[in-house]
Each structure stands twice: as C-alpha cells, then as structure tokens.
Symmetry: C2
Subunit: 742 residues, 2 copies
C-alpha cells in the first residue's frame, strides 16, 4: 500500500506542473494574511504572539546586519549568529505581511543579499567532524534548519521583490544551497532519519517558493543517486542506509518513521523534535499542492502523530521521558506550539486541542494559529480528555507498542516497543507511573543537560550509555546483572517487544500485558499490569505481575525507582555507613547499596511520601528473597547523575512470578501537620497460582474485603474457558482475565 501510494503521488506530481504560483503561499496565503491582519487586533492569543514577534524583530533590526564567514561550532559566535538570523528572518517575513510595513521586507532583502554575496566566497564550514559538513554551519542539519526557516521569509517578500533580485537570489543563493544539502550531500539527504526529514523539508520548501519542480521532486521522492560508499555511519553511529532501504525523500520518511498510530520509534522526545519539519513542510504542501493530500496520507498520519504526542504526556503536559529524553520537555515547546494549532486547523478542529493551545499561551503566526486563536476567543475550547490507549510501534504497527492506562489521577505507561535505534534504552517491559504531574515511579530519562555548557558542552554524557540506557536504570527485570541484549543496540534493533493484551473498555479494570522473549537467552518474560478501581478505596490500585519462564536458575533483580522519601517498610534491613558500588558494569557501577535485608514472611510492604501523598508497594516474598535500597551516583565524576533512590527485589529462581501492588493513599500538608491515611489499605497479597499459562492472585483490604485476579497468559481468545485448581477449589473463568470480589 505504502509503495503504491508513492507511485501514484509521482503521477499527480507530474501533472501538477502548471499549478499557479502565489506568494506568500507556504504557511501564509493571500487570504489568510487578510484575516491575520484583522485577527491580531481581535484575538488575544494572536495579538500577544504577534506583538512578541514584532518586538523581537524590531530589536534584531536595530543591530547592524551580521552575516559572518562561518567558523565556529555551536555556542560560538558565527554559529549562533546564523541561527539567530534564520529565526529573525522567518519572523520578519510574517511581521511584514501582517504590518504591511516595507521596512521589514527591505531588511530581509538586505540580509539575503548579504548571504548571496558571501555564499560563493568559501567552500564550506571549516569544521570537519560531521559526516555531512554544512555551509554556514558545521553540519548540513543546521543548514537545513536555516533553509526551512528562511524559505518562509523569502516566500513572504517574493512578490514584493523586483524580478532581478529574485533571479539573483534564486540562482546565486537558494538553488545552490538546496543542491548543497541534497545532491552534494546525499549521505545526509537520502536517509530514513530525522536529519533527512529536515533536509527534505528545506529543499522542498525552497522549491515550492521558487516553483522549482526538480527540487520538489527530490524532496518528496529522494535522489536517484547512490551515497558515496565510504560513508556508512553518522556521528552518533547510526547507519546511513537502513537494511533493505530502497526509498528516500519525504514520503519515505512518512512511511518509515511512524507507526499507523502516529508513534515515533525514538519516543516522544525526539518525535517532538522531528515534528517541526514534518509538519511545516506538510502545511506548505497542503497550501501549495493540495492535490497531494499530504495530510490525509496514511489515514491522516501526521495529525495522528500530533495526537500521539499529546497522549504521551502527564498532567503537566510533559512527555513520558522514555529512551533518550530530557525530562520536562513538554507541550510548551516551540515545536508543539506549531503542531497543536496545525492539528487543530487541519485535523478536524477538535475543540479539545484548544484548551491545550490556551495553556501554551501563544500561537504560530500562520493560518493555523489564526484559526486556533479565533476559536479560542469564541469560547470553543474544551478540556482535553486523556484516554487509555495502546500506541503501536513499527511502520506496520506490529512491532510492539506502549500501553497507556489512565484512571482518575493515575497514569501508567508500560513499554514494549522496538528498541528505538541509537537513542533507545534497554528497557523492555519497564513502566512508569504518575499521579497527575508527579512522578511516582520514574524513568531516569537521559544523562544529559541539553545545551548546558557546564555539562560537557550540553551533549550526551558518557553516563548516558553506562547508566541511563542500561536495564538496571529502569523498572524492569535484570537477569544476572546484565542488560537486555547484552547491551547491544544492533541485537535489540532486530526484534521488538510483543503486545499481548490491552483492554481499557471497563474503566474499573484496565489491563495491559506484553511479552519479551528475546532480551535474555532462555528467559521468557511477560508483564501484566492491571489498574483497578475498587469501592471504598480512594485511588485506583495498580497490580503488577511479572512472570518469568527460564530454562535454569538465574539471578533476578527487579528495580523500582520510587520518587520521594522512604517512610517505612515492614521488613528489617541494615543500612550501610560505607557505601560501595553494586557492580562493575551494566549500570551497577553507578548504584550504591544504602541498605539490604533478607526478606521474611510472605509479604513486603514499603511506604514512601512524595509531594503531599503517600504510596505503598505490597509485594509477595519467597524464601531467599532479598531487598536492596539503592542510590544512584557512583562512578559519575563531575556530578553527571542525580542522587535518586531505588529499591531492588532480588531473587534466585528459574520460573517465577513477582507480584506487586501499588497504592496511592492519603495526604499530608506541612502547614496542617495532620497525616490522613498514611498507611496502606492492603493487608495481604497472595499468589494462588503461577505457571507458564496462568497467574491467579488475591489481595485483601483492611476492611476484610478480598479480591481475586486471574489471567491467561497464552490464550487471549475471549470465548475460551479456563480452569485452575487451587487447593480444594476449582477456579473457572472465560476469556483472558477475571477480576472479582470474593
């Protein structure tokens, strides 16, 4: 299907040569400019956004034009100056169109002519460390950024310019620049990768402005030339050509980068980054080449992808920090300011998006932004309803997924996706849990302070590999103190987690279950999590059943990165006054053991306190189980890691089951000093049955109520009857699961 569509679009392209050209036509149109001029007077969000942009441009124009010969790396003068230039040029273009004040057009013209003047005077940026060195920047990626933004500025003054200047700029600056980042650097342009998405968008957008059909074709369909054979990896170690890759260009990016649900295999942090060129070029194509139906491509994939991003956030709009992600990146980012308005305008005007746009407090100065600001001013905004959902991974949606369960204030996310390439973590079957915006069980995120020079220039720290990516840094099983796939990306990339069961139809019993059989040789793992609403308990309970089937006895560590202050446990432990790292590799070198204990009895309970709320984990204990209380931070010179606490449940076993139950309960305010419900409601948790096929557990509340949960792990036919003998009792149920009050 995907292939066929690509061919048909080529046909459409070839017959669209005569399409009439208007400027502006990318993000603004003649019609929308008229409306925008009125809108900035009438609609508060648009007015604010416009005045902010105008003030920034006015400030930039008050300084002398500066187009330096390229020399520096990021952080250095020439890099930052060229970056600032493209941001200001784009804004100046919009301000010109809205204000109709020619001084803005003139400034853009002057700056562009300065670029045109120096462009032929040097070969390329002097830095050589990129696999694809750029012109004004050290890598083509930044030059593509430049062209994506500056195309928009050029589009805004194209009709205002005299023909001679247009010809000069087209021939001496833009066409050569577009060729530089495409045919002169196919190793950058012809990949399936976010770098190429930027490259395709840049070349395509300037092509649309200049009505240059060849550039548009390259952008949409890739180059028909081969990448020079000596360049096989990029600077991050990523392969230039994916195995079996036969296509390139924007359509190929769309085909390969997203699942049918709009999930991006690197996770939401990088999806946010990649969305800008995807959407901005798509919006330009929607305006300039509506016959392509780009926004309907793959069942409206791009709009779905925006919704997928929104659905991967906590109550503060922060993305789930899976894979390499800086925590705190959120719907407030500039990329999402564009994305949400665009998804609103082109995606059926879902009024729930308006409330999110309202929170952003600004809109893009485009047709989309106008549309959103207008409808917000008209009072159309509705709260965004966050639903439980499974988002599949893989181009065909059959390579794992993430499962998201929402229930009252709780958000549970379980991850069983593809590895996510170079930015992926070895974290299959890991989960994270939020209470509103508060992390309850955290994912560490990346070991990086993005762009903060103090921290190794703001790039990835070496601890990102040695800690953040390792399995023990996640809330999932570690076998024999080694990471999944022995920590090898190439191996992890070959397979994905396996979605087994996701059911959120019954709001009181929502279940996600997934399997992972490749991460550890001879060890089959299945995690089943159920979010349960029960009468008489204030918050939903989270049941967590981690089943392992293994050929032989192994050592299992199940970490839990709880956030907050440990209140108490019912188990005895001894604390260490001298802290030593837990191991030498696989991330253990970064963990200190603060305390340890041999667990006794059948039950372990641990309560912690975070941001006014209490939380308790109840776990079943088997003979020989140990508990370790850990602290992150060892072997991290220069304070590369946060000192966060963790808990490890350690067990030596072959086939086994870890059964846990998490409860949020009560509250405490430091100005009232009256703790309410500071103890868990759970008095017992028992495994009634565990085998390769079934698990049956029962738990009991303070009030004496007992509940039983039964689950079929290998047959998900909802019509099949299951029987399990427990002591004298024969338990029977139909379908995958049964949850009942005893």
């Amino acid at each position: 299907m995907v292939k066929g569509f690509t061919i048909s679009t080529l046909i459409i392209l070839s017959i669209s040569v005569g399409y009439s050209q208007q400027h502006p036509g990318l993000l603004l149109t003649k019609e929308s400019v008229v409306e925008l001029r009125q809108g900035v007077e009438k609609f508060p969000l648009l007015k604010t956004s416009y005045l902010e942009a105008k003030a920034e441009v006015d400030a930039a124009m008050s300084r002398p034009i500066s187009v330096p010969i390229p020399k520096d790396l990021p952080g250095g003068f020439t890099h930052e100056q060229h970056k600032n230039n493209f941001l200001m040029l784009q804004k100046a273009g919009v301000v010109f169109q809205i204000s109709n004040d020619e001084k803005y057009a003139k400034w853009i013209k002057d700056v562009l002519l300065t670029y045109a003047a120096i462009y032929p005077t040097f070969d390329k940026h002097p830095a050589t460390r990129s696999y694809a060195p750029g012109k004004f920047f050290w890598q083509c990626l930044n030059d593509a950024n430049w062209l994506v933004y500056v195309s928009q500025a050029y589009d805004c003054i194209y009709d205002w310019l005299d023909k001679k200047t247009v010809n000069k700029l087209n021939k001496e600056l833009f066409r050569p620049y577009a060729e530089y980042i495409s045919i002169q650097n196919p190793q950058f342009f012809n990949r399936i990768h976010n770098h190429s998405t930027w490259g395709n968008a840049a070349v395509g957008m300037i092509g649309l402005v200049m009505d240059d059909k060849e550039l548009i074709d390259w952008a949409l369909n890739g180059l028909k030339i081969k990448v020079p054979g000596d360049i096989v990896k990029d600077n991050d170690g990523g392969a230039i050509q994916l195995k079996g890759q036969t296509e390139a260009g924007f359509f190929a990016q769309l085909d390969h980068s997203f699942s049918p649900d709009g999930y991006y295999t690197e996770g939401p942090y990088y999806q946010r980054y990649a969305m800008y060129p995807f959407l901005i070029f798509a919006e330009a194509l929607a305006n300039k080449k509506p016959e392509l139906g780009i926004l309907e491509y793959r069942n409206g994939l791009l709009i779905k992808a925006v919704f997928a991003l929104v659905d991967q956030t906590n109550a503060a709009g922060e993305f789930f920090p899976i894979n390499d992600s800086q925590k705190g990146m959120s719907l407030a980012s500039r990329e999402l300011v564009n994305a949400l308005s665009m998804a609103y305008h082109y995606g059926g005007k879902n009024p729930q998006l308006l409330s999110l746009i309202q929170e952003q407090g600004r809109v893009p100065l485009t047709t989309s932004g106008l549309s959103a600001a207008k409808d917000i001013a008209a009072g159309l905004a509705k709260p965004y309803i966050f639903n439980s959902m499974e988002l599949t991974d893989g181009a065909n949606g059959d390579e794992g997924a993430i499962g998201i369960i929402r229930s009252k204030d709780l958000t549970l996310m379980m991850k069983y996706t593809k590895h996510g390439m170079g930015h992926g973590h070895f974290d299959r079957l890991s989960f994270l849990l939020y209470n509103g915006a508060d992390e309850v069980i955290q994912d560490y995120g990346a070991a990086r302070w993005v762009n903060i020079e103090h921290k190794d220039g703001g790039g990835y720290l070496k601890e990102n590999n040695t800690w953040a990516k390792q399995t023990v840094a996640h809330n999932t099983l570690v076998v024999n103190k080694t990471s999944q796939f022995m920590g090898k990306v190439d191996d992890a990339d070959k397979t994905s987690g396996t979605a087994y069961y996701f059911n959120a139809k019954n709001a009181n019993v929502q279940i996600v279950s997934a399997k992972e059989t490749n991460a550890y040789a001879g060890v089959a793992m299945q995690r089943t999590m159920a979010v349960l609403n029960i009468d008489g308990i204030e918050n939903p309970l989270v049941l967590d059943l981690f089943n392992i089937q293994a050929d032989k006895e192994e050592s299992y560590d199940l970490p839990l990165y709880y956030m907050g202050e440990l209140m108490s446990t019912n188990q005895k432990y001894t604390t260490n006054n001298t802290l030593t790292p837990m191991g030498e590799n696989s991330g253990y070198q970064h963990l200190w053991t603060e305390a340890q204990g041999s667990m006794t009895g059948n039950l372990m309970q641990m309560t912690w306190f975070n941001k006014g709320k209490f939380y308790t984990m109840t776990s079943t204990v088997k003979a020989g189980d140990e508990m370790l209380l850990t602290r992150i931070g060892g072997n991290a010179p220069n304070y590369a890691l946060r000192r966060d606490p963790g808990f490890i449940h350690r067990r030596k076993a072959g086939n086994t089951l870890f059964a846990n139950l998490y409860e949020r309960h009560g509250f405490y305010s430091r100005s009232d000093e009256i703790p309410v419900n500071s103890f868990t409601s759970i008095t017992d948790l028992t495994v009634l049955h565990e085998s390769a096929d079934y698990v049956v557990v029962q738990f009991e509340l303070k009030n004496g109520d007992k509940y039983r949960f039964a689950f079929s792990m290998n047959n998900k036919d909802e019509k099949t009857k299951h029987k399990v003998q427990i002591g004298n009792e024969l338990i029977e149920w139909m379908g995958v699961s049964q949850f009942l009050k005893k």
Copy 2:
C-alpha cells in the same frame, strides 16, 4: 516598667468586679453576631469559612456522642476522640450563634453534660509519662487545649442554657477542670513556657465565661503557691522554673517570651504554635476586659508578634526553618488564619494583611474574621510589602537578633540570636538565602516528620540531636570539627550572638554584620553580609565576609548547603566511588564525602542549577585550602535524613577571612532548552586587606567593572574616618562601610 504594669493591672482587676457579663463575649459579641449573620451571606471568604465549619459540625453531629473514659496516647482512639470533640464543640458554638438553630446548642449541651457525668468518675488519665498528667489526655497541655476551645463553645450557649444546667456545668465540670490544670498542677501552670501559656489561657477563658474572678486572676498573674520540689524538669528536659523567675501567669508570659520586636526566642515555627493561646485569650480579654488594654501591652506587642511572623517568611509564606522547625509550615496554618485576621482587626486595619488573608482562603468565624472578610470584599486588600529588618531577640531586645535583607527576589537571613532553649540549634552566624520561594542556601530544619507515625511516631528523631542541631548542619563556621559550645545547650543559653550593624536604608547596599565570641573558646567570629545592587547585573549580589580572630591555628570548616544540581567548578576534585562518613560525632558522622580537592590559584567558583535558575559562588582561596563535596545521610538508619548536597571550604589558620560572593544568574527551561547566562558575571574577587579591625575586598565583572567594599568591624560610629594602606594606595572612608565602583 514591666513589673510596674503588672501591679497596676492588679489594681484595675480588683476594681472591675462589677463588669457586666454578656454571652457570647469571648470571640463573639452580641453585636458581632448580628453582623456575622449578615456577613456570611455577603462576604465570600466568610461564607466559605462558615459553610465549611457547618458541614464539619453536621457530620460530627450525625455520629453518636462519644465521650470515652481516657485511656490512649496520641494517635489512639480516646485521645483523638476527645481532640475531635473540642474542635467540633468550638465550631458548633459559632454555627449555633450564626444560624440560630438550637439543634447545635442542644448538641453542645448534651456533649458537655456527658463530660460532666464522667468527670468525677476517675482520677486522671492512666498514662504516667508526663511531668503533668492530664485528665482526659496524657498531659495537662492537651487538657488546656480542650478548655481553650470548649470555653468558646460554652460561651456561645451560656445564655441559652437554663440556670440549673449552668450551675451544674460550672460546679461539676469547668471549675474543677480549671483547678486541675492550675492549682493541682502548678508545675504545669506556673512556668514561663508555651505549656503554661495554654494553661493560663484555658483557665482565664473559662473564668471569663463563668465570671470567676479567681480563675481570671490566676490566669493573668499566676499562682502564689510553690511548685512541689521534686519536679524540676519537663519531659523535654526543660527547667520548670527559669533562673530567677519571680512571676507567672499571662502577663509574665508576655513579658518574657517575646522581644520588643515580637521575635520569639524559639523561632517562628514554635512562635506560630504559641500564638494561638496568646491571641485567642488576648482577644477574649479585649472584648471582656477592655480596660486591661491587653493589645496595647508592651507597645502593642502581640500585634507586633504577628507581623514578626509574617516577616519571617519566604515568597510562599513559609517560615524560615531555623531551630527545630518542620519546613513548609506557613501562613496557611490554622494558627495564622486566626492571627492574621486578628492583627488586621485589632492592629490598625493594615490593608497589606488583607492580601495575605486572601491567600489563606478562609477567615476565623469571629469579629476579626468578619472584619477581614468584609474589607476584602470591599476591595481594600493591598500587596504585603516585605521590608528588610532586624528583629531583636531577648525580653529587652538586647540579646542578639536575626537580620533579614530583601532585595528584588532575594531574601537573605542571618541569625545571631539567643540559643532558643531546648529547640535551639548551634548555628550562630549562619544564614539562609531564598530566591522567591526557592531555597538557594538552605537551613536543614528539624529531623522530624511531625505526626507521621511511620517516622518514629512523628516525634523528634534522634538524628535531630546528632545532626540537625549540630553546627556542621548549618551555613556557619565549624572549628576543629566540633559544634559551637561543645554542643551544650546550658552553655549556649547563657549568652547570645551580638548584633553589630544593620543598615538597609540604601536599597542598593544593604548590610548586616554580627559577632559571636562565646561559641568557641579563643575564637572570635564576625560575619558581615552585604546585598548589592549593581548596574548591569540582573540580580543583587550577596557578599559574605567571615572574619575569624583566633589565639592559635585551628581547623576551620565552612559549609554551604546549596540546593540543586552541581553544574561545574573551576577547581579540580576527585570523586569517591566508596563513600565513608566524615567523622564520628558533632554531625560529621552523618556526612559522606563525595569528592575532595586541594584548591589552587586565588579563586574558587562553583555553579549550581535549581528550579530554572543558575547560581554561582565565588570564593577567595588561600594556599592549603581544601574543598569537600558532601552528602547528608550516613549513620541514619530508617532513612531519617534527606540526601542533600553540601560544600565545605576547609582551611587551617588562626586569624583569617573567608570571602564569598553569591550570584543568581540566568535561567533555563527544559521545554526551551536554551540556557541564558549560565555563567557567572564575576571574574575576580580579591581580599585587599584583612585584620581584626578592617576588611577590604574588591571584585570584578566580565565587563571589566571593578567594585570595592570596605568595612570597619569594631567601630560603628558613622562619623569616624578610617584609613587602610593597600600597597601604594591609602584607602580612606568615613563610617562603617564604603562600597564604590573603582
């Protein structure tokens, strides 16, 4: 003066026998009730507060009356039931008066008669661990709480009750109960202590209700009987009789507990607790015995004390967590809800208080609350202006002080008070720094989770003594790894810090300087801090000059408990992968050394990041200086301590000066990922002169500007000329300090 006043009040009392009695008359009056009835309809804050109280009382009345025979300790059933009873009775009284619905009066009557019925049936609470066991509670303190609250309820139904019931309750419950906590327990009632404040208020308030002049006299002037000789200490080890104490009763409490500025020697956390009985009894006296002029006593001390509390908060209304304090206790507490409205109504109707009351979101259901709610509804609220100020300690205001300097978003507090008795910390010359509500340099507070059973029943943890009180837990000098006064409270209580200089008249150069010569034998310390606003720097700089004059060489540790994540330092250090405690006592046993380095050059700079802002400390370095990066948490089983970071500047010297400069700079948002000004503006800091009499330092900014600060440490006459020779230059200035741009 104080003595004289007490005598004259006795005279007034003796002639006021015939004062006519009206009910209600304590917190409500006949007149205010009429207004309150209208007010709950008209004024939103009052309405909300009334409806909340009514809903609580309705819920309580829907359950059977429960007045159990006393048995349990706090947390146990009988304790919590009696506590809940007094809270609900007080509210029911108010609801009765406002609603005029007799069901509330009848319920109060029924509950009181039940109390009267069981009162004679037992001797006292069975628990024996208090120095003053109570009747319904394990200690008289809680019985006094009961009586303070229930007096208010009784006042509300007094005129509604038949005479026979009044006589019965007076004779069989209230008078005996008042005698129990006074003449039967003088060791509780006749102290200068917050326990006795509660006792005095309780006996006084029920005396006012019953028009019982003897009780009122006891309450105001104490008992003329001697405390039994065998009780000399309370359960916290506090002395029953203060050295030289000759007075007792409410006036004596007022004379001894506060400084003339309204500062309470235990600090704001305990002041907040003690304020309730002080204010509630004073309000009752103001209504019932206006001739006492209680609110004008000691120049309006009680109202001043409320302002002093407000002035000891950060931008979130949280009290400075000095001495034993749980962090987060704030103006939102129930005690302050009463205090702020009362200070408003009786303290000259300062409209700045209204904005704080608005933030509290509720008002007391009293004349004061009515007054505040009414004026807020009338739009009279103004923002509270937080000013720089020095609050003296000691009954006469001559035993040290705290200095508070506010400048833009920064709040600096330096502490050089009395020790503060059993709840005091060994922290003279320590400081803390806020940026708005964010702690920049923290005081650890108490090692306690108040009322949280998980944590040793919610009381003080042993780490409160071994860590939180010790000098090394504070931002002040530790000599030879030993706490001030060798950690002995009795010794510390004998002296106070010495206020030397406080000047906030020039908003751009605000200075606090204080001395401490008793804490360490042979070591005289003086700390001078200046908050400086300089052109071209975004935030005020904090200059910190810690001068030491010592007989011989000592080992100095100057800790700094910065909050946030360490970004970088300009000094080389090595991190430890195995962490061991830094010492065996004086708090060092709780600190791990995470890293250490021998400092080189003349300058040490360290940058950290917290809540979106960057901070840098710049320090002068002397040959042999060492730096240690520390982490709290060693030797604290059961997770008694937070894992907070610290920095220690270590030096071996006799006379010396530690010169530091703190700068808040720039910002970073995780959704923008663009750090702004992440590096300090300070390029140099030099000590030009240090001696016993003078210190002169100079610092330099990135832009090349140089500033010089000179300070006279032993002569604060503003007319004296000072001369210091620095190399070839003779520096001259007049007065204590000079700050200038070079």
